[in-house]
């Protein structure tokens, strides 16, 4: 019953007209961001953080707005997957496999509505799961000392590197790059500047928002310059939009199973939404077998990845809120938001700031309903927005990024740094080096080092202290397995590539 009273508290925060308005705006913006090719949840949320910050919203309002954008972007990603065969974001890749063939067969409207409903089911169940699981995990998290936290951070980097990338060495290098950047600035323990090269601008360290916006948003501009914005015109026409009740009823078990699979994948630190949609699609494909005709435009193939993707988006919030370790690239960006708002995620958040946690959960439920209502009847509006040409969109994104970062510090140095990160992001992505570990490294580097140093203070410099408790040993083992196992599984579990015409 404690949960219900907590939830009531959350709704009392989230149901005020003002926050409700923010939720609606956030959902609308988020769906657009998710739908536009080249603007995914990560860079969409990243661009908006500095702007929300300068708007002076209080913590709860800012959280409501940004999580609505986050969920909205997860919904929106399916629109361009289905209509253009271009995933609006990475997790939506699996939706192209059956969504685009279905649209080509003249059932674009059905596919969009069905995927909208599947998104709703996935996100709704995941939010319920979050409500049940997060407080329990928060209680476990009290048992975590510095040694456990160090192992947990390591686990996040290892699973992220192992599962979300194609080459372990490159993922490890990316993590080190981020961690290395996090070390720049004044050392908290000794008060001495480190690795600044004598540059005064670097004494405060590198702001993670600068790195996020540079790596995600500015790098995207370079990619569009390279491709000259090709392949972003409307692919399949959308005519009548009806609610395909028979398809929805026939895929209900698929949605349920995919939600569970996606939620579990989302909880794993570092694995995230892409893994959720991938596992959901693959498990449904193997359940349906050859007769299921997955890949030819079947409703189940649309419902499974969308439910999995959105469930994973909710699941990824569990480790982020309770342990401060994000489960995906976008939750890493949300973690950046929390840090900017001076909220420290972790078990104490549930005890000290219940209104923030439960307000967030309530607003997720509200956002979800708003998104369902918005996405089924208004899907045509979002389809129109897809036809914004990239030669307007990308310069616009750049200018918004510049203003956002400029308004943070008012220093041209941060802008230069952002452009530098943009160029770096272009080269990294060209070389298939994942950029999410870089962000995670910058975000968590300071905490990871502090955990290590505190552990060593406690044990008077005995490194065996890091392996002294069962939880720590378990986390270390999981980290090693998460990093090594995918090397052997890679030949078995091959990511299906997007179909081409």
């Amino acid at each position: 019953m404690e949960m219900l009273s907590n939830l009531a508290l959350g709704f009392s925060v989230a149901l005020s007209p003002y926050t409700l308005m923010l939720a609606v705006i956030g959902c609308f913006l988020g769906t657009i961001i998710g739908a536009l090719p080249g603007l995914g949840p990560s860079n969409g949320v990243a661009i908006l953080i500095p702007i929300t910050f300068t708007l002076g919203l209080d913590a709860t309002s800012a959280l409501v707005l940004m999580t609505s954008v986050y969920y909205g972007a997860m919904y929106g990603g399916r629109i361009s997957s289905i209509l253009l065969n271009i995933p609006g974001d990475e997790p939506a890749l699996m939706t192209t496999l059956d969504g685009y063939p279905m649209a080509k067969a003249g059932r674009a409207g059905d596919a969009l509505v069905l995927s909208g409903v599947a998104s709703f089911v996935g996100a709704f169940l995941a939010t319920i799961g979050l409500m049940l699981l997060a407080p329990m995990l928060a209680r476990v998290a009290y048992l975590f000392g510095p040694a456990e936290y160090f192992a947990l951070y390591l686990l996040a980097f290892c699973t992220l590197g192992g599962m979300a990338s194609n080459n372990q060495a490159k993922a490890a290098l990316a993590s080190c790059l981020g961690l290395g950047i996090a070390m720049i600035g004044v050392d908290n323990n000794s008060g001495m500047p480190r690795l600044t090269g004598g540059n005064l601008h670097l004494m405060d360290g590198v702001d993670f928002l600068v790195a996020i916006v540079g790596l995600f948003a500015i790098a995207e501009v370079f990619f569009f310059i390279e491709s000259h914005g090709k392949g972003s015109s409307i692919g399949v026409k959308l005519d009548k939009v009806r609610v395909p009740w028979t398809d929805i009823m026939s895929t209900k078990w698929t949605m349920l199973r995919a939600s569970v699979v996606g939620f579990i994948a989302g909880i794993l630190p570092g694995a995230g939404a892409s893994l959720g949609s991938f596992l959901a699609y693959m498990s449904e494909k193997s359940i349906a077998g050859e007769k299921g005709k997955f890949g030819t435009g079947v409703p189940k193939g649309v419902a499974a990845p969308e439910a999995g993707n959105n469930a994973a988006a909710g699941g990824a919030l569990v480790p982020m809120l309770t342990l401060g370790v994000p489960g995906s690239g976008t939750t890493a960006v949300l973690l950046a938001l929390l840090m900017t708002l001076n909220i420290t995620p972790g078990p104490t958040l549930f005890a000290d700031r219940p209104e923030v946690v439960w307000g967030l959960i309530a607003s997720l439920l509200i956002a979800n309903v708003v998104l369902l209502l918005m996405n089924v009847p208004m899907v045509k509006i979002f389809v129109k927005i897809l036809s914004v040409p990239p030669w307007v969109l990308l310069p616009g994104v750049t200018m918004i990024s510049f203003v956002g970062i400029y308004s943070l510090s008012g220093s041209y140095f941060d802008l230069l740094l952002m452009v530098g990160f943009g160029a770096l992001g272009y080269v990294l992505r060209k070389l298939d080096i994942p950029t999410v570990p870089v962000i995670l490294g910058i975000l968590l580097g300071g905490n990871m080092e502090n955990a290590l140093r505190r552990a060593m203070v406690l044990s008077d410099g005995d490194p065996m202290f890091l392996f002294s408790t069962p939880i720590a040993i378990g986390l270390w083992a999981a980290a090693v397995i998460g990093f090594v196992a995918p090397m052997f599984l890679r030949s078995v579990l091959k990511k299906p590539q997007a179909i081409t015409d």
């Binding site: 310059i225 310069p395 200018m399 230069l416």
Partner: protein, 145 residues
């Protein structure tokens, strides 16, 4: 093959330089058993190892852009750097219009559309930022008004 090897070598040198500069970090009298040097050196070591693996076992080359696209990318970087310096002394509207127009032209080479996109984005965004969101932007340099 070559791309990964070159990047790996560059990363290796950066990692070694990083370790070298980490050894120069000053320690204060208030120190813990680990100190401020150890963790950066550990990161540098792991990075150097990963870079070595990239040199020894490179992936196939990505499709790098050719000729003219490199020029476009170079122009874009220069424009963004100049824009970063110009934003404060020159006000928002003029640098934004120019930078947005050039970027737009690099994405889709159509001078009329690019000019329209530049002007429209600059004025539109200024109105949104200044009046809808209430950010303290300066439209033109102070001396002119």
């Amino acid at each position: 093959m070559a791309s990964d090897r070159i990047f790996g070598l560059v990363a290796l040198f950066v990692a070694l330089a990083y370790i070298a500069s980490a050894t120069q970090v000053q320690t204060s009298f208030l120190s813990d058993p680990v100190g401020p040097k150890a963790f950066p050196m550990l990161i540098g070591a792991v990075a150097a190892l990963s870079a070595l693996v990239m040199v020894v076992r490179p992936d196939p080359n990505p499709n790098w852009p050719v000729g003219k696209t490199w020029i476009s990318l170079g122009v874009a970087v220069v424009v963004l750097v100049v824009y970063a310096y110009a934003l404060k002394p020159m006000g928002f509207v003029v640098p934004t219009a120019i930078a947005a127009a050039i970027l737009s032209y690099q994405i889709s080479p159509n001078a009329r559309n690019a000019a329209l996109a530049g002007a429209g984005l600059s004025v539109g965004l200024f109105i949104v930022f200044k009046y809808a969101l209430g950010l303290g932007l300066v439209a033109f340099p102070k001396g002119l008004i």
